[in-house]
């Protein structure tokens, strides 16, 4: 927690954070406009007011919609509460965390599945998206059509994707078992019901979408690479593979960082597909699904659900902090 909060503040001397940049620009323009008798007043009262609003309003929104709920969640994770009367709120120390880690059977499978999800996206989905981007960047005929096709899943909600893939995976009438020739027979693979298989089935469906997302980002990245770099590489005698991995790929560093962060975040917030399939039970446990199970609806256990949410928050902070350090660290050096 403190790391994230401290980092932007620490980088304050640099024009790093968005707010700081705006402030810098305001200073310049106001200085020019209100200068009197050679004495440069840095900020008029009006500027201060405007500045105050510009900084204050977003801060207020941030505070109200992000920080307060976060702080409340953390506080609630150390309590037992039935959500009815405030007088029913009782301190529980770290009991909820102990419960989650020791007594709650779906927790560790969920952690494993989230890690598996991350590895799968990182090793299969993301490289697949990169491959698509490189192929479609070659000015082949109909590239726009292919781009649209591969990008379409990104525009669909994961919930809808879950439903579409049900049609492929259905045990008795699904396309996949039909192609395997096992549809309707006892040998039919139960893609969503078999707890050894269903996580893979879900990840393939998620890949279908994630690859399109990565593809679009890399396509934009590839367009942004200075063509003279490629020319120089080919003059130096580099072949296509060498050009790509030694020159083009490193030149897309900003995109690469974004992709890494997106991949990590996608794997942490993966939720919709498993929820559509079976609400994240029976082999499809994910942390996000457990948070929902424990916080929303009739199965609400506020303390336990909050503890799960805080655990997910802490895990999510790792890639976010990593990203911020890379971003701001780079800028302060530049």
């Amino acid at each position: 927690m403190s790391t994230t909060a401290a980092k932007p503040a620490g980088a304050g001397s640099e024009p790093g954070a968005a707010g700081q940049t705006t402030a810098g620009k305001r200073q310049l323009s106001s200085g020019r406009r209100t200068g009197k008798a050679g004495k440069v007043r840095r900020l008029t009262r009006r500027d201060k007011l405007v500045l105050g609003i510009m900084v204050g309003v977003p801060t207020l929104i941030q505070l109200l919609l992000v920080w307060l709920p976060t702080v409340f969640s953390i506080a609630l994770s150390f309590t037992r509460w039935n959500g009815l009367d405030l007088s029913d709120l009782k301190g529980a120390g770290t009991d909820n965390y102990r419960f989650v880690v020791q007594d709650y059977p779906p927790f560790w499978p969920a952690v494993q599945h989230n890690v598996l999800w991350l590895v799968f996206l990182a090793l299969i989905a993301t490289p697949l998206g990169l491959l698509l981007a490189v192929l479609l960047d070659q000015n082949i005929r109909g590239t726009k059509i292919y781009q649209s096709i591969f990008f379409t899943p990104v525009m669909l909600s994961l919930a809808l994707i879950g439903i579409i893939w049900q049609l492929f995976y259905n045990r008795d009438s699904g396309l996949l078992n039909y192609l395997l020739g096992t549809a309707g027979t006892p040998a039919a693979v139960d893609w969503f019901g078999n707890s050894n298989i269903n996580i893979w089935a879900a990840m393939v469906a998620a890949t279908w979408r994630h690859a399109g997302y990565v593809m679009i980002l890399y396509l934009a990245g590839l367009k942004g690479v200075d063509p003279s770099l490629r020319e120089a590489a080919s003059i130096d005698g580099a072949n296509a593979v060498q050009t790509f991995f030694r020159v083009v790929f490193p030149a897309m560093r900003p995109v690469n960082i974004v992709i890494v962060v997106i991949t990590i975040i996608e794997s942490l917030r993966a939720f919709d597909i498993v929820y559509v399939i079976n609400r994240g039970t029976n082999g499809l446990e994910l942390l996000s699904a457990l948070v929902i199970q424990n916080l929303v609806g009739e199965g609400q256990v506020i303390g336990v659900g909050s503890a799960l949410a805080v655990i997910l928050l802490v895990i999510s902070l790792i890639p976010i902090v990593f990203y911020l350090i890379r971003t701001f660290g780079k800028e302060s050096k530049a």
Binding site: L49, V50, P58, L84, Y104, N282, G297, V301, V304
Partner: protein, 438 residues
């Protein structure tokens, strides 16, 4: 804030566009900030206070077309009879159930739809409901003892007026059984013998679906009640009994003998899939609530469906029937409104329940003397089974703390179906934490 900006805007023409945007942003922010505050005061209907006696508000979670129209028929009949107007607020049923906490604490309607069981008891215990003993004085003779017991709160006062329920049992196709020469099993051993025979005939003996997690609770409940009795079921689900005891492991051990006969693909299919399999004669029988008949759209198939109660195992024969009851409750606020009491009393008469059943015939009216002339033989059998029951259980997810049923039992039962093992010690550990949080 936004107003303060205006003078500046006229004094300096520097950037009215930007100012306007700022102003809009400020207003937007104020609006956004308002959302959580507004959401804080839930319910929000804020209609007529309890004192007036010729109108009431009625919150209904029955949002599907047929039940919605059915409740409309009830309120219309009530208005016609008494002149009391009913303002109905229909809320999608998942939302209604999920938000019941804030609903009851905010400004709830006078009367609302709910279930019997732990969740009714729980809110009654928390003082969020109004007792309706005066209503039961009038309608008490219309109901069986089992219904009365299911409508009683933890303090011995009456809270619920039942509307309808539906029994759980084994459903099967008469023609198929006649053709194969199967007979209805009376005991658990007969059930196993029958299942063995079906298996050798190449069909899946017992249809089963648990992708959604809850249907397996029916099997657990029945084996538990047949093995340990109705009272144990109630005490266990209310966590007055420990889950970590031999009686509970016995339930799972007994079930284990049945597992090889239940559809091995249970975890990948929904109850609708399993109903189709029964219709297609791929499975011999299927343990589910009578709502399973909704899936049999072909009248010929529907007429061919029969059911039998879960066979006896050790105690109480087949006295206990799992038949979740839906009915009406009064909120604390509604308790002050005489009209709301009258409305509940109307629901507890044959007249009121007939009005409901005239539209929604898929359930069984709970009142004695309800119109059964339109009943199919199957409906009649369902009604008789419930009427003859000594104990009516409400299904695990209504009798137990919802968190226990949904967060603990669903994963536990699914893993039991998978590998036939269950850790009762862990069930108890989880139960302890969850019930303590209430």
């Amino acid at each position: 804030m936004a107003a303060n900006l205006d003078p500046f805007q006229s004094a300096h023409s520097a950037g009215p566009g930007r100012r306007t945007i700022l102003k809009t942003l400020g207003l937007g922010a104020a609006g956004l900030a308002g959302i959580p505050l507004l959401a804080g005061c839930t319910g929000g209907s804020g209609t007529a206070p309890g004192a007036s006696s010729n109108s009431l508000t009625f919150g209904s979670g029955s949002s599907d077309d047929v039940p919605k129209a059915a409740y409309k028929a009830v309120t219309d009949a009530f208005t016609k009879k008494t002149g009391i107007t009913v303002a109905t607020n229909v809320v999608p049923h998942n939302d209604f159930q999920n938000k019941i906490n804030s609903y009851l604490q905010g400004s709830p309607d006078d009367a609302f739809t709910w279930f019997a069981g732990y969740r009714m008891q729980y809110y009654a215990g928390k003082g969020l409901l109004a007792p309706v003993d005066d209503v039961w004085d009038k309608i008490g003779s219309n109901f069986s003892d089992a219904m009365k017991k299911a409508s009683t709160g933890p303090d011995g006062k009456m809270y619920l007026v039942p509307n309808y329920n539906y029994p759980w049992g084994f459903f099967y196709r008469k023609s198929f059984w006649a053709e194969k020469g199967y007979a209805v099993p009376k005991t658990f051993d007969e059930l196993k013998t029958l299942a063995t025979k079906m298996k050798s005939d190449g069909i899946v003996p017992i249809g089963f679906a648990d992708k959604d997690g809850w249907p397996a609770m029916g099997t657990f409940d029945y084996i538990n009640m047949r093995l340990n009795g109705y009272q144990f079921h109630v005490d266990l689900t209310a966590h007055k009994e420990s889950w970590d005891q031999k009686k509970v492991s016995d339930v799972f051990d007994t079930w284990k003998a049945l597992l090889p006969f239940q559809d091995p693909n249970a975890l990948g299919q929904t109850w609708q899939d399993a109903a189709k399999a029964l219709e297609a004669k791929k499975t011999g029988m299927y343990l589910l609530g009578s709502f399973v008949t909704q899936q049999f759209t072909d009248p010929a198939v529907l007429a061919d469906i029969d059911f039998f109660p879960f066979p006896e195992i050790a105690v109480e024969g087949t006295d206990a029937v799992e038949a979740p009851i839906d009915g009406l409750l009064l909120s604390k606020k509604g308790g002050d409104n005489k009209a709301a009491h009258d409305f509940l009393a109307f629901m507890g008469t044959a007249e009121g329940q007939n009005a409901y059943a005239s539209v929604d015939s898929s359930n069984i009216a709970t009142v004695k003397g309800a119109d059964t002339s339109k009943f199919s033989p199957l409906n009649k059998k369902c009604a008789d089974t419930i009427a003859n029951a000594k104990h009516i259980s409400q299904f695990l997810d209504r009798d137990a703390l919802p968190a226990m049923a949904n967060n603990v039992m669903i994963p536990a039962l699914q893993s039991f179906i998978k590998d036939g093992t269950v850790d009762v010690k862990n069930l108890e550990a989880q139960a302890k934490t969850l019930y303590a949080a209430q």
